[in-house]
């Protein structure tokens, strides 16, 4: 089982999770909700990052849970429940982004950038500059094609291992590394080396 990260309320142990999954596979909806709840906050944060729109993320999160429930009987446990659930989430987010790209009035992601708080650890005189840079970063991430955005969100934002992220996306680790690199190159180009290096100094 993947160790719990940000805001994740993991079941007490892998055995507990396995037991809940087994009960869910047998049709116990309470067990499904319990095991899925452990990953819900983190999964929702991923959807927010991928979609950049809260109401759309809420809608997709409900869809993810419904699809997971509908498919739980076919889950054989060859990967972790977490990986399996995230794969559904990434698929559903990609589907939503695809739909959105066909809409003429696609949602602007700038609002998310504007909502980001300044890092309280920054010195006051750098906060405005850093906030601007963070906004530019979020905007650059939002402008990435979905597969690239997904790679950065899973690996760099969520901190998943290359192996986990590659498994969720459904490609080899080598292909994932290459995709991640291409994604970072695009963001780097959008922000500019000078701004990045100054911020990192």
């Amino acid at each position: 089982m993947t160790p719990p990260l940000r805001g994740q309320r993991a079941p007490d142990s892998a055995a507990t999770e396995a037991g809940l999954v087994a009960r869910a596979r047998a049709g116990d909806v309470d067990a499904f909700e319990q095991v899925a709840s452990a990953h819900a906050d983190r999964l929702f944060a991923v959807l927010l990052r991928l979609l950049g729109d809260r109401s759309e993320a809420e809608d997709v999160a409900q869809e993810v849970m419904l699809r997971a429930w509908q498919g739980i009987a076919r889950f054989r446990g060859r990967s972790s429940f977490f990986t399996w659930l995230y794969r559904i989430a990434v698929n559903e987010a990609s589907r939503a982004l695809e739909k959105r790209s066909r809409r003429p009035d696609s949602v602007s992601l700038d609002a998310v950038a504007q909502q980001l708080p300044a890092d309280p650890r920054d010195e006051p005189f750098r906060q405005a500059e850093n906030r601007e840079l963070r906004a530019a970063l979020v905007k650059a991430l939002a402008g990435l094609p979905p597969p690239y955005r997904t790679a950065i969100v899973l690996r760099d934002v969520e901190g998943l291992s290359t192996q986990e992220a590659a498994e969720i996306v459904g490609i080899s680790q080598a292909a994932f590394k290459s995709r991640l690199h291409q994604a970072r190159l695009r963001v780097r180009a959008a922000i500019g080396d000078a701004a990045l290096i100054t911020a990192g100094a």
Binding site: A36, R67, Q70, D156, T162, H181, R188, L196
Partner: protein, 96 residues
Amino acid sequence: MSHFGRADDHQWSQQHLSHYIEGDLGRRARRRLGRHARDCADCGRGILAMRALVHMIQGLDGLEGVRAPAGIFDRIRAGGAGGERGGAPSAPPKNA
């Protein structure tokens, strides 16, 4: 670019900056890129920029403590829980 390295060092290095900053290269490959970057301003800057970028992305903290919506399981309940299992037109991965 290095005058002493292999002709394709620059292109190869540019393609492996992410691998380099993550410590994801073998010893020889790491030495190859490091040696090239010492002489190549472009690749040297690339390493610094990539490190700063990843650090900044990792520091995106706007969603810390975000909570999943309360109604995240509503559709399951609305569908009668057990009634619709296993038959989704676009089903989740069979096994993962």
